[in-house]
Symmetry: C2
Subunit: 344 residues, 2 copies
């Protein structure tokens, strides 16, 4: 068990390498490589010897070397606004559940909803030469688009499908239609003074709002009157503030569509605090149908979005493309569902 004398200018840090395993098991390095990556190409008894050596030496393959040699990283990059947003953590779970068993590594970048950030993060991410990339949204800056295209790797844009042409593939829902669905629903329910409150107001929120308002307009409602938005990141607390401000200005409002469920929770809490009965005095609706939405009092009428499925489908699509498997559609609308409950 003597250490081989290191070469004059060696930079090795003494880690166990493939050749150590090869030496120990009396075969060449490439055979060990095959035993590990393609076991059926190696005879059973050699394979056993190699496995024994691997575990005795505690060999851990070096992925960087593999990447360099194969020109592929088995990594997929994911660009999302923020992991700490419940919405995206569901999406991310879907991505993980597909990638982990297939041995794809997942790399995140959080843009925090800033386009500037997106460009920087993107070029940083590409430094890792991911095999494929999942990015949030269809609205991408020209520079980002250029970066993505020049990387010449498959791209899936998620969360949204719509008029805009995706760079490559696309999985999501139509936010405009979602807004419209809710607008029609509230009109149909007979509400008269229907409002909208929203935070963050990224592109998708804006499209939800415009779908919503166009439904109201089509029904002859004065749609622009009861709208209150802020670019601040959306939180439960902010939902309370927004509904508060709205009620201050329009005490007669009788239904509010909230940007998302978090805002809706805040709105519900604030209404309770003001002893407004929901939905009799004021109806509240949300968007996403998070887990808690079915439990809150009153249970929240909202739009159910297939968050986990978006992540899962996007990852599957990407990996199919990477494995050159046939792909039926490159643009997938996973649809939404109006979840009628007690709050509206």
């Amino acid at each position: 068990m003597t250490q081989a004398p290191s070469k004059s200018r060696s930079r090795s840090k003494g880690r166990v390498t493939l050749s150590d395993v090869a030496q120990r098991s009396g075969v060449s390095a490439i055979t060990v490589s095959r035993a590990l990556n393609d076991p059926e190409k190696v005879s059973p008894n050699v394979r056993d010897r190699i496995e024994k050596a691997v575990s005795e030496l505690g060999y851990i393959p070096n992925r960087a070397a593999k990447s360099l040699a194969t020109n592929s990283t088995n990594t997929i990059a994911v660009v999302i606004p923020s992991i700490s947003n419940t919405v995206f953590s569901s999406v991310v779970k879907g991505i993980y559940d597909v990638c982990t068993p297939l041995n794809y590594e997942v790399l995140f970048a959080n843009t925090y909803y800033s386009i500037q950030n997106e460009e920087n993060l993107l070029s940083k991410l590409l430094t890792q030469h991911p095999d494929g990339i999942i990015v949030t949204g269809l609205d991408i800056s020209e520079r980002s688009e250029k970066l993505l295209k020049s990387a010449s790797i498959p791209v899936v844009q998620i969360m949204e499908v719509g008029q805009q042409q995706p760079i490559d593939m696309n999985v999501g829902i139509s936010h405009y239609d979602a807004g419209k669905t809710m607008g029609k629903y509230l009109v149909r329910k007979g509400y008269q003074r229907i409002g909208f409150i929203g935070a963050q107001m990224d592109f998708r929120s804006q499209r939800r709002m415009s779908g919503f308002l166009s439904a109201l307009a089509e029904a002859g409602h004065d749609s622009s009157r009861y709208v209150l938005t802020t670019p601040e990141p959306s939180t439960v607390k902010l939902g309370g503030q927004l509904i508060g401000d709205m009620l201050m200005e329009h005490p007669d409002i009788d239904a509010v569509f909230c940007n998302n469920d978090d805002i809706a929770y805040g709105a519900i809490y604030e209404c309770q605090r003001r002893h407004l009965r929901i939905p009799e005095q004021i109806a509240i609706a949300g968007f996403n149908d998070l887990d808690a939405s079915a439990c809150i009092n009153p249970s929240l009428t909202t739009i159910k979005t297939p968050l986990y499925e978006i992540g899962k489908t996007a990852a599957e699509l990407l990996i199919k493309r990477l494995k050159n498997q046939p792909i039926k559609e490159t643009q997938i609308d996973l649809g939404i569902k109006l979840q009628e409950r007690d709050s509206a």
Copy 2:
């Protein structure tokens, strides 16, 4: 702009490399490398030429090659139970906020609270040869511990500090003390039949529970009577079920400490549904102090935990170690705070 004829057995995929940039700017590869990594080592006018070539060619460095040459990946690995858990997404944000600006890549693995998973994920993660690693919890299987030690990289264990000796460094809070704090508080408030409900019941939850129960016992309460737990993952919905079951068996219970805020939300909703007044008829307390806890009705009495700070501190500690900077303490208790509100 003719393509250099590829060598006989080239495996290159036509990506722009350092040498392409070098050729274009009329210097050697190493000079380009220096211009990019250590700009002040290169004369200004050469630097300009190189920068120009980089942007003209759209050069993106290959991190795998760099890792292989430098024997360091600029990557830190993070092992947590689940990203989709709000608690961990705060922690993760803390980690990101430290790592991203310093150009450290972050790699996740979700164990979903399974020790078996942890071992597998760990060996997969180590394949990437991260420079350092952050793992959740002090309770680690022997095999995992061996793996970590043999990787000989710095390790920070997070979420919890306690009796158990950490492998290397440690940032968190004492869950036992947290439970005890809440137990004492509820006793002091004069509640008589104090219970505990909990889901998931991982090691940390168990320690919270045992701290809590010992506080009750010390105060002469019959602590074991009003306890209801389940190993299922905790959700808001499950909180409702647990309190429901608890009330079925012990309708006289007058205070309940919930495993975490999500369970507490579910409990509050369910009590509302049953028209039990909180805190008059039944007090509810939680753990973590998530954003929504201050907004819910009634606002939730809970234990505030420094989630973001845990992530941030852990990442800072790890990076200090990686840069061989002096470290004052290797075990940091960030402490908790009892957040008194209306629900208890």
